[in-house]
Amino acid sequence: MRCMWPPSCGEDATVGAARYLPLAVVMMLAAASASARAETIQVMVDKLVFTPAEVSAKVGDTIEWINRDILTHTATVKGGMEVMIPVKKTVRLTLQKAEAIDYYCRFHPNMKGRITVSAP
């Protein structure tokens, strides 16, 4: 891995500090604005209900399922992805593309939810 930041950088440490400082600031700003954009959306899983059942999100956002039940659940898309949501655990899924995700619990098919993912 290349050295990115003085003073750990060897020979041209002083030159490097002056040269890379603006770049580092830009990168930090970029990181800050990216994290401000990406949201975490919580979905409670309690007494066999996803609440809210329908959420809207943007690509890059994270869905966080918080399972308060004594049972394991899943967020499963028919013929597609599956997220296991173990007993009393929180699991996260970062949304990769704009799409409508209709999911259900494979163990309790009455449990249904929808995530509408739009472009960032």
Binding site: K47, L48, V87
Partner: protein, 174 residues
């Protein structure tokens, strides 16, 4: 077919009688715990029988769901009675449930293939209907400990889901 109808009618009659008899005097928390645990154990046994006998993927998957959930609820129930220092107490309703379940299990054992699948699922619908009815009208209102009441309410939600799931599977088998 006639075996199925007979066994179903028998279960319903016994459960109905048990519920009616119990309604006269409110069950105590130790009795409620015993009834709920017994009902769970019965469905676990039924699920194991179905997993062993059925070749139908939908039925086996449903039975596995029943096994997983009822074991989870019963584990929770055991932990709770331990914590509350309640000793589950045998009673007429528990005995009626066990007797009916024994007869159902025996009649199901004689069936195989699609006949077994249909009879098992039909019995699951009826059993969950009865247990949910008992939870709603008798067990939950009679429970005095709030934690026990809470677990029964959670159980009711779960078992209502099972009932709908069973109805759905029954429709698929038709």
């Amino acid at each position: 077919m006639s075996v199925r109808k007979y066994s179903l009618a028998l279960v319903l009659a016994l459960l109905g009688a048990a519920t009616a008899a119990q309604a006269a005097d409110k069950p105590t928390d130790p009795q409620i715990a015993h009834i709920a645990y017994t009902a769970g154990t019965i469905d676990v046994a039924a699920a194991k029988q179905a997993i062993a006998k059925s070749r139908n993927k939908v039925v086996v998957s449903f039975a596995k769901d029943m096994l997983r959930d009822h074991e989870a609820v019963n584990k929770q129930a055991l932990a709770l009675v331990g914590k509350l220092n309640v000793k589950p107490e045998d009673n007429a309703t528990s005995r009626a449930l066990s007797d009916a379940a024994g007869k159902t299990k025996a009649s199901l054992a004689k069936l195989s293939g699609a006949a077994f699948d249909k009879a098992y699922v039909a019995n699951e619908v009826a059993f969950h209907q009865q247990v949910n009815g008992a939870l709603q009208t008798l067990l939950i209102p009679s429970a005095s400990n709030p934690e026990l009441k809470g677990l029964l309410e959670t159980g009711l939600k779960i078992f209502q889901g099972h009932e709908q799931h069973a109805v759905h599977v029954a429709a698929e088998l038709r």
